[in-house]
């Protein structure tokens, strides 16, 4: 293990405590995305008004884990750098295999050598969201090459109870999050809020290993129980099964990390990258609307 961002999960492989399968790490190339637009700059919001989307992909600095989602004026704003690959099939593979907490390292450009960590992923064509220190981000530009040490997808965490599936998380990441295992075969996750599945928007019906699901919270919508949603928060959705595709299942629960901000587009909103899914009888949550702390820069050693 080396010091620095993502160090908790920097090992090439993670031995399994109970003799199960060992997670394999793969170095993959990501390229810092340049935002792309069509001939018209406008999108149309839920009330039929045109707007110009700012911050939807590419490199965004000045926005950090812990910032309130409501404070972001753009569309799907993610903190840090969105990583893609010019070949679409390789891009899907990068997004599928990258896990939150995986270490990344800049290979080219003025920030070469800088280290960061994966903080989330987005669906459709696919984007890996990578966090860096702000001074490193300010020296990066679209086209910079980033090596992503992907590890964790498909790996069965032996510390989780039967029926609960972890996904999109680096081995060891759950230990840095408010996830406790009380010992009677259950797991308890601290979350900012619990939302009903009818708020699950774009991303539903898509494979959770490579997509986020947008929470249909319009900018300014209050959270049930109060409090405000921050980037990096853990949020639970009832009635949602994320083991394969995301879909409705009564009695089920999915917990994810808030990875990007809100959107004026109907059916869109703050994005949730699923990390745990299972029967609600086994996967339990504790809501802390005011004091919750989820994925943080300090937890990822980005400070």
């Amino acid at each position: 293990m080396t010091a620095g961002p993502g160090a908790a999960t920097a090992g090439a492989t993670q031995p399994d405590r109970d003799g199960g399968l060992v997670a394999v790490a793969v170095n993959m190339l990501g390229v810092v995305e340049h935002p792309a637009m069509g001939d018209s700059p406008y999108r149309v919001d839920a009330d039929g008004h045109p707007y110009l989307p700012v911050g939807d992909g590419g490199l965004v600095f000045g926005v950090r884990l812990g910032d309130p989602v409501a404070a972001l004026a753009g569309d799907h704003v993610a903190p840090g750098a969105c990583l893609v690959h010019p070949e679409q099939a390789a891009r899907h593979a990068l997004v599928t295999y990258a896990c939150i907490g995986n270490p990344v390292e800049v290979r080219t450009g003025r920030a070469a050598g800088a280290r960061g960590a994966v903080t989330g992923k987005r669906g459709e064509e696919g984007r890996v969201i990578a966090g860096f220190r702000q001074d490193d981000l300010s020296r990066m530009r679209p086209g910079d090459q980033i090596s992503v040490r992907t590890c964790g997808q498909g790996w069965a965490d032996p510390g989780l109870p039967a029926g609960v599936v972890a996904m999109n998380v680096a081995p060891g990441l759950l230990e840095t999050l408010p996830v406790t295992r009380p010992g009677q075969g259950g797991v308890i996750v601290g979350v900012r809020a619990v939302l009903p599945s009818k708020l699950a928007g774009n991303g539903i019906g898509r494979p959770a290993a490579g997509w986020d699901v947008d929470l249909q919270l319009a900018p300014g919508d209050p959270l049930p129980g109060g409090g405000q949603l921050l980037l990096g928060d853990l949020v639970a959705v009832t009635g949602l099964d994320a083991r394969y595709n995301l879909g409705y299942r009564r009695g089920w629960l999915t917990v994810g990390v808030v990875v990007h901000g809100a959107s004026p587009l109907p059916g869109h909103g703050p994005g949730l990258t699923p990390i745990l899914t299972g029967p609600a009888s086994v996967l339990q949550v504790e809501v802390d609307a005011a004091g919750h702390t989820g994925l943080t820069e300090s937890g990822l050693q980005l400070k």
Partner: protein
């Protein structure tokens, strides 16, 4: 429907397309709700034996598209075909042994979906070219300014029961009401393209997956609760969207029989009348297969 509209001002545009082949990759299988691998027909091509008025589910199929699945070969022209074609538009077969036969558009699903009489369907295959007489986008109901109409041919609007009520609301007959929890893939997409898959209709796959939607029929007009499809497709409490079930059985999780959007607005702009006959088959497809 007894309602004032701008139908006389709409233009008609002649568009072309072809019956598109089903598509697969060399790995074949996709994954069901419990991780079941499956390889099932339904999407693309000319699907036989399933028409408007038939049950939407109960087939060994995934993303069942009844009838012909039509695209245009040029990507830009294809988007025009998908956006401009409306439910109820007429489609004429131009090549092959069925040339000259006419069917109707029943919805969109990344393809324009066309239902033909059974005897015609038997003779249509992948690659056959068709002409779509597209009309309906831009349809406005001046007495119902809160309601946005889309993907609806003026001829279909005229045949639907209901209309402007004395209290100013628009009466619409629906065969089923859909809870917001059922909305699956399609959320967040534009509402002039593809449709909204409804979860909770996985016939025979478990009580924990059911939202009581196993009785839907293809062509049913349905009302989706808390759905605003005026400028896209999103959850909005207090709104309602009227759609027509244009696709059927799904095995892929988060997917299911899907309505193409026809009207959307605040719930208090509508009076919904539950009517089992609220189906395209009652108004457009009187010549469908005998005995069904």
């Amino acid at each position: 429907m007894n309602v004032t509209s701008n139908a006389a001002q709409l233009v008609r545009q002649t568009l072309t397309g072809e019956v598109w082949p089903p598509l697969a990759d060399r790995h074949g299988y996709r994954v069901g709700p419990d991780g079941q691998p499956f390889a099932l027909p339904g999407m693309g091509g000319m699907t036989l034996g399933v028409h408007c008025g038939d049950p939407a589910t109960g087939y060994a199929s995934d993303h069942l598209e009844p009838g012909a699945s039509v695209r245009h070969r040029d990507p830009g022209a294809n988007m025009a075909l998908q956006f401009l074609t409306c439910v109820g538009n007429t489609v004429r077969v131009e090549s092959g042994p069925a040339a000259g036969a006419v069917g109707h558009v029943i919805g969109q699903h990344a393809y324009v979906l066309v239902d033909f009489p059974a005897a015609v369907s038997e003779q249509v295959t992948t690659g056959d070219t068709v002409t779509v007489t597209a009309t309906g986008q831009g349809l406005v109901l001046p007495d119902h300014p809160a309601i946005v109409v889309k993907n609806c041919a003026p001829g279909l609007l005229a045949r639907m029961p209901g209309g402007t009520m004395p209290d100013g609301r628009l009466e619409v007959h629906v065969a089923a009401r859909i809870p917001a929890e059922a909305v699956g893939a399609g959320a967040g997409m534009i509402s002039e393209y593809a449709n909204t898959d409804l979860m909770g209709a996985y016939a025979g796959l478990g009580e924990d997956l059911s939202l009581g939607l196993e009785g839907l029929c293809l062509g049913d007009v349905v009302a989706i609760a808390d759905a605003d499809h005026r400028y896209g497709r999103g959850y909005r409490p207090g709104f309602v969207t009227i759609g027509v079930i244009s696709t059927g059985q799904c095995m892929l999780f988060g997917h299911g029989p899907g309505p193409s959007s026809l009207m959307s607005g605040p719930a208090d702009a509508f009076t919904l009348v539950e009517d089992p006959a609220a189906n395209l088959a009652s108004w457009l497809h009187n010549d469908r297969e005998a005995g069904k």
